[in-house]
Structure formats: structure tokens, C-alpha cells
Subunit: 452 residues, 2 copies
Amino acid sequence: MGKTKRQMNLNVFIMNAGHHEAAWRRTDTQAERITDIRYFQRLAEIAEQAKFDSLFLADILAVGKNVQHGVSSFGLEPFTLLSALAAVTERIGLIGTVSTTYNEPFHVARKFASLDHISQGRAGWNIVTSGNEIEAGNFGREGHLEHRKRYERAREFLEVAKGLWDSFEEDAIIIDRDTGQFTDSTKVHALNHAGPHFRVKGPLNVPRSPQGYPVLVQAGSSEDGKEFAAEHAEAIFTAQQTLEEAQSFYSDVKSRLAKYGRHPDELKILPGICTIIGATESEAKEKEQELNELTIPAYGLNQLSSMLKVDLSGLPLDGPLPELPNIEAINGNKSRFQLVVDLARRDNLTIRQLIHRLAGGRGHRTFAGTAVQVADQLEEWFTQGGSDGFNVMPPYLPGGLEDFAAQVVPELQRRGLFRTEYAGRTLREHYGLKRPVNPYAARPLVSRLAGC
Amino acid sequence: MGKTKRQMNLNVFIMNAGHHEAAWRRTDTQAERITDIRYFQRLAEIAEQAKFDSLFLADILAVGKNVQHGVSSFGLEPFTLLSALAAVTERIGLIGTVSTTYNEPFHVARKFASLDHISQGRAGWNIVTSGNEIEAGNFGREGHLEHRKRYERAREFLEVAKGLWDSFEEDAIIIDRDTGQFTDSTKVHALNHAGPHFRVKGPLNVPRSPQGYPVLVQAGSSEDGKEFAAEHAEAIFTAQQTLEEAQSFYSDVKSRLAKYGRHPDELKILPGICTIIGATESEAKEKEQELNELTIPAYGLNQLSSMLKVDLSGLPLDGPLPELPNIEAINGNKSRFQLVVDLARRDNLTIRQLIHRLAGGRGHRTFAGTAVQVADQLEEWFTQGGSDGFNVMPPYLPGGLEDFAAQVVPELQRRGLFRTEYAGRTLREHYGLKRPVNPYAARPLVSRLAGC
């Protein structure tokens, strides 16, 4: 029975000193080591020992305004970091964020195919369209591409990437030393893509990788984002504050898959949760309180101004939010904007209270309690149609991850809700996802011989 | 005396199954493992144990025409591979090729800064402008950018990259937990570059890396290439067939540095050499002969056609080269074109003979002999004003590298011509290069306070 019980997928979202914006001020964090690969190796090791499905690195292509008081907007380039981690881990999936707005599909397809080879099938791509106008200035763009346009580009980008990943059929490499045939060139395919955003001839210069495609992840929860996820994504990182919101998001997104000929299980929904764990509930709440007291108001105000696209500086911290723009006017992270507005209204929060509520997870749910209480929460969401697993966001590192690994994971395992050993080798196997079939290989032999 | 004797720098140029185009047909090569990171880890380990300064990976952004009989134009993406190697090596420098024609400076500056952190100061960038028209088709370009334009773009690209690497002063990161100051924001600098090819605001989102800048390497030997190298490069990979050519190139390039305010020692000149090593001279020559007999004429013809920008297919292999275009008409690797033409004329070679002469090093010098003879050759070039060291190109792997490491390196060490231990930690230290001073930090305090 334990074997057939549905189990959750757990991803750990690693961010420098931790997700809480004041994490680095705790003396037990290692903010001095954010450019030290051994620091990240140790975090990956902890997560792998706990049998996490994957670890994930976000990305932003610019230094934010908050450089003075925070550490979230600079550090190592995530893809370079993931590749270094691939060399020193064996089982855990490695998911990196790469923007479709500021990159070329040939480069991106190529590096994910390489990472998939290097990690022996553990690569995942969190596809983002870049919601932040300051990134445009680093790539010669005057302004920020409009929301819908970014998704159009993302769709075509992904179509090109998939085409490139199909360049080499599985058995294209022969290596026949006697005849001198290295490759069966009839099994290496050009793409000749010509679309509104890209013209790419191909073929990709990387042989078919262990997973075929990296696991495709998506993190936007706007209408455009949900539709994109339903069509293409295999996992989705999302921010939901309550079980009701999570259920509604879950059924909404899952119901959209059918029209793309996909089964609901082909997309795993993983809400983020920032877990503050204590030996007792009151210890956990105190820890949360201490972290919130370490926040710098100017930092939180900047973050909040950026999420709400309104300059809040100068407003009284203990007063309410001002008049806000309409969501239609938001050309950034639309769903995060809505979430923050809803949260402030629902609980009638002052600006300071809102900053504290957002300090741990920037809109992702924060929960402080014992390991058993955390496990209860996860179980409830997982069994009540709110999620397929979670995007675990340790508030501070390495401690917050160590606590989760040592206390919450064993509790979930005791309940039969999480694996005790990796069953598979690849990230697709961890997530229970199909390996894509190469469309060239899928053609019947007759049409292949006819060159169709 | 041994301590002060001038020593050579040795780079190993790693290419899939080896540099000889027929290497993969030898049964002792591991062509099956060209997407296996452990294969490259092992090669890096051999090179590091032999105290090589660095290992180098070339790059091309397209699958060549020769996919059927060769393995040189596909495999792992080099930067992803280097980052994975950084995690499992400790001393050897890691040099990767990245094109300035098909990339954005923000991405490139960022990933080299990250690699430099991850490797603790061992990153090097081989700056290329992409000489191959088939690459254009993978990036939406109809045609190939003209030779001089590519170098103009490269100059501006490098100016932007250097500006970005200077974004964070050395002491910009404070991490004062008491006051909540993570960064001294007066020491993080925007760039606001606006030029004909790029507009980049900055700052870079990576703190200053151990080497300041990666070691800057260049490999083109045309007039544009030599001038670019004299202005910017700290090491140059070059192809020279004879000592006289090497001496002439060496003095030509070194003499160009003064006008950029640079000392000749700030640029290391490393001609390529493909070494075929045997226990006796005749064994080495036989090995060379065997490798040449394994070449596939169609493959060599394709390679030669591509270097000479002329379609040679259908011409008799045992006849002479046809009429060739003038070098002014070559929009690719101009210096390689000239080298091949000179080689064919000087030795009055048939097409087949020329293919064999190019099979080992594609224009780089090939030398077959005993380890002592190889060391003699290297010593002669090094002491007679032909080079500062060498770009060692093993004809087949891992054997060709093992032979060089086990036989030639100890011979060079016995002669006091090569280190027996790494003296430094960073690639700059291995090559004896200065660490660049951050221009912001170099300003006197008074002008800094005045905000100049």
C-alpha cells in the first residue's frame, strides 16, 4: 500500500543566505560565502541526502535597487552554478531560470542539453519572460517588452528549443571505426525555423540528451502564464496564500491541459512555502518575529514598491496602502501584484504589517510552527487538491534547510507522503514525467524512407 | 639559478577524441564518451597532475558539414563543461571560447565572473569573432558579419565587459549585521555604456571576482587579430609551421604592445603543436602514418574546402590545388587561409598530401618524435624567440595527453624549462600576469569624495 500511495514532489528553492530578506543578518547564516561554490555544494548535499526531487535557482538580469541592505539581486550566475553542482551531485534535479526575452534559443537549447548530459538527466529549465523593467537596460532595450508580447516570444522560443533538442535522433551516433562512420547523417536534422521572432537553421550541435528535453518549469500565474503552463510546462512554481486559493489555482490550471491533449498528471503544481521551524510552536513564532524585526524598512518598502509598481517611499509605515494602479496597467509580475493587493485587503494590513508578511517569501506563503505542524500543513494542501508537492523556500541557510531535511522530511516519510529513497535516476523519473519521443524517430519507417 | 630561469607556459587544448581528424577511429580513444563529464574530468586530472597552466576548449556555434565522418563540430557546450570541471579541479586554469559576434556582453561578463568565483580565480576567455558563415544561420542573420566589423564589435564588447567587471569595487561588500549594511552602494557602479553596437547600463550583478578579469586570450592572427591581441590579449593561441614564421610573428606582435602602453611580457604567445610521441622516432612516424591512413578523404576535402573557401570536391586528390581566391576576399579565418596556401606552395603539395599535413592540427604544427625530440623542439622555439610556451594539442585522447604528461613534461622539468609545482593559485599567477586594478578604487580619495 505504501508503494502505491501518491507521494509529493519536493523542490528546494535556494537563495543566497535564504528567502527571508533579513536572513543574512542572522549570525548563523553564511552571507560571506555567496560566491563560494563549496557553500552551494553543501546545500545541494543536504537536499540530496533528504531525497528532494530538485533544487532550483531563480534569476534576475540586473542589480536591484536594494543592493545596500540585501543580497537577493547579485551573486553567482545560476546556470554556471548549476553546472558546477552537477559535477558533485548524483541524483537531485537541477533547475535553472533562463529568460526567453533576453536570450537566443540556440544558446539556451544548447546549454540545457549540455547540462542534461553532464548531470546524466537531471536538468530542468524554469522558463521566464523577465518581469522587471531594469533588466531591459542591460540589453540595449529602451523599454520593457509588453506582457503579452513576451509570452508570444516565449512560445516561439520554446518551439525552436524543442526543435533543436530533436536535432539528433537517439541512435544518430554510430561510431563505426571500421567504416569511418561517426554519425548517421540522415538522423541529424536541420530545423529551418523562420518565425516572427527567430530564424534558426539548426541542427543543434549537441547529441540528444538523456531526458530528451530538460524538465520544463514555469512560474508565472497570470492568465498568459497559466495558459503557457497548461500548454508547455511540466512543473509550475506558484505563490498561493491560502488552501482555497491553492485549490482554485490547481483546478483552474489542471483543467486547461485537456485542450492541449495533455493529462493533468503531466503538470506538477508546486506552491511555494517558506517554513520557519521551531521545537515548539512558540519558538517558531519567536524566530519569525526576530527575523521580521531584523528587516530594514527601506528595503521592504523598495521591494513592495517594485511589486506594486508604485513609489511608496515617504508614506507612513503604520498607515494603509495608497491608491494602486489597475492590474491591466501592470507590465511585470501580474499575479504577484494581485496576490499582494488581495493579502493587504483581506487582512486590512498597514504597510509595515504587509512588509513583514512578505519578508519571508515575497508573496509565497510563510508558515511558522513545529515540524509536525509543517507536515500537517503540507499534507492538507497535498491531499485536499491544493498541490502535487511544494517549492520549499528555507527562510535562512543553511539552518532552515537543515531543519526541514532533518525534521519535516522524516515526518512526511513516516506518513508515506514522501520517498525514502530515489527510485529513478533522472529528474523526469523523480517527477513521474514522460521522456519526450523524438518526432523523427516516431515517424513510421515508410514515410522516413520517403523523406517525409 | 633554477628559480630565476625563464619557464614556459603550457596550455592543453582538449578536443573530444583528440585533434587528429581520424583520432576517433583508433580503438584506444573514447569517442563514445564525448558527452560524459567523467571523461573530461579524467583529462583535466591528467593535465593538472602534469602542472599545465590551463586547459582550453574551442567552440563553434553550428554543426559542420562533416558530421558523418567526424566529431569536431558537436558535443558539450564548452562553458557548461568548464564550470563542471571547475568543481572538480583545484589549480589548472580553465579557458573557454565565447564569440563576441553572437552574444550579449552582459551575459558573457557575468558568466566569466561567476566561473572565476567558482574556480577561485582560474577563468580565461578566448575571445573569438566567429569566422564561420554557417553560425550566422543559427542566430537569425542572413549573412556573416564582415571581418573588420566583427573586430569593431569585439572591441566594444570587451570595453563593456571590462566596465561590467569593474562594477563592484573590491571592498563593496561589507556584511555588517549590526547596522544592516550588506553593501556599500557607493562602491557599486553603473556603467551607462552607449556605443554603436551596445547600450548597457550595468552594474553587473556579480561581485568583483578573484582575478578581477578572466585572463583574456585571443586566437586570430590576421592584421585585425594581431592588433586586437596587442591591445587587449594576455595570451594568444597561434598556428605557426616553422621557427622562422614563429619568430617573425612573435616579434611582430610583441612590438605592437608598446603603443598601447603595455610591456611585451603582458602577452604570452603560445603556438599550437600537435605532438605524436613514440618510444623511438620511427615508432612515432609510424603512428603518424597510421593516423593519416585512417583519415577519410571526403572529410579532409570538406575541411580544406572550408579553410580555403573553395569547393574542392571532385578534384583529383593527387593533383595540385586549383586557383584560389585572394586573401582580401576571405571573410573568415584569414591567417589560417594564408598559412595553408603558404604550406602547399612551399612544399609543393598535392591535395592529398595537404590533407594529411593538416589532419593533426588543422594548420597548427604537427611533430612526430620521441619525448626528447619533442622537448628539443619546444626548447628551441622557446629559447629562440619563437614563443613563451605552447598550446599542446594531443592528437588522440587520452593517450596523446598521457604520453605528453608522462614523458615530455618530466623532460622539460629536468631541463628547468617547466614548473614542477604550481607556485600560484590563479591562472593569472600561473601565466605571470598582473591582476587588473579596479579603476574606481585607483582614484585618489579626494576625487572620490568629490564624486569625480
